[in-house]
Amino acid sequence: MSRGAAIRFELASVRYDDTDRDAIADVTLDVVPGELLVLLGPSGCGKSTLLRTVNRLVPLTRGRIAIDDTDVTALDPVALRRAIGYAIQAVGLFSHMSVAQNIAIVPSLLGWPRDRIAARVDELLALVRLEPQRYRHRRPRDLSGGEAQRVGVARAIAAQPRALLMDEPFGAVDAIVRAQLQRELVRIVRELGTTTLFVTHDVEEALHLADRIVVMKDGRLEQIATPLQMLVTPANAYVAELIGAGDVIRRLTMLRARDAVQRSTVAVDGVRIDAHADLHTVLNVLLGGAERVVVVEAEHPIGTIDFAAVRATIMGNR
């Protein structure tokens, strides 16, 4: 099992040739090992550029980037890229190769033995929920958009990278498939502990996936925070408007029953709800007519939630 890498940006700046403005400007950011960090912002804000500086597809003009305290410019760029997973919106599966050959690319570049590669390919297909026997020998043109993106994810993590870069990987698939892929991505990177940088312009996607969100504008970081912190206390009007901080309904799915519970040891009757359920579920029950719900953790009641508690929590007053 691969543990995630720590990625540190120190005053990282990029200026493309023929432009008079930095594409990213003085970005300082610590990506914690194993976290799923979402870079969010409108097109042209520099989020893709920032992503591509990590594996040196885009060179820094100023500043530095370190992976586990090693400056990336001290590493051979080709070796660096093989050590970091890479998945993009257009997927870019090699159309003259089978699904198995596509997934095997990085392991084969790294010179893994044949049987180890074959075993790894099957393991990965199963991980992204594609049946190995059915999909191994397919051509990319015979895959649906969702299937192609699953193969793209499998290819990106094939050589057990400790960091994964994803540039709007689910931007081209429909909403249902996207939700499915998001759930599975979270499951996979949690399971592997891979540090993941994920670029998107889709606010819902960011709120849903992120451990922390980085909001960018004109090449600069506007705010770094957890989805909930950002919804409750956006750093400025730009962030508030971008993520829809005024929309308190949005916060319901971010918050757990545990966050709103009024702890008490007095036994009360009522609908029981797990401490990890979201406030959306709690509110459903309350709107159904219950005066309060009983929150249970590990089968033991720990307290109750009523309307006032839900309200106080989503307004950030608790």
């Binding site: 597809l57 093989r82 993009i88 090699f94 570049l109």
Partner: protein, 203 residues
Amino acid sequence: MTYLTSHAARVFALAQDHALIVAAALLVALAAAFPLALVIVRRPRTAPLLLGLLGAIYTIPSLALLALLVRAFGLGIAPIFVALVAYAQFMLVRNIAAGISGIDPAQIDAAHGLGMAARQQFVRVELPLALPVIVGGIRVAAVAMIAIATLGGYVGGEGLGTLIFTGLTLHHDDMIVAGSLAASLLAIVADGALRLVEHAVRR
């Protein structure tokens, strides 16, 4: 047709020489065309100049070019060989460059981002994906070269042109017909064979 039947072995031998000259010239032409095409792909700004130059060579009437080359290289195989290589450049460079430039940019980005070195990217991704277009260029070039190679007979080169030009000198129409027919047949066979290759590499 009488010459073709009475001298079948000689016509066949000349056709073999003809094919050999074209094949050898094609190999040399390809060796020159690949680096030129890569220059165009990596630095698109050079495309108008390079393709313009090669296009200009392509438009020189073959007889005129041959006359110049005979002054430089003397009679024999050399002038026609050089002419064939020079004419093929335009068709080959254009198709190789178009084949590589036409590749889905996402596949190039993926190759780069996953950690292929430049050479691996060329051999494993760019070349196989561009191959159908490249083979198409080779096919068109080969057919044109088979026709142009008959002019070799005029300047002392080997090949089916010998029959045509000897026939002209001797007013021996049958020889002319035999040479022309054999050259046409050769072109048709080359075209068909390379079409099959083109189809096979289009995966």
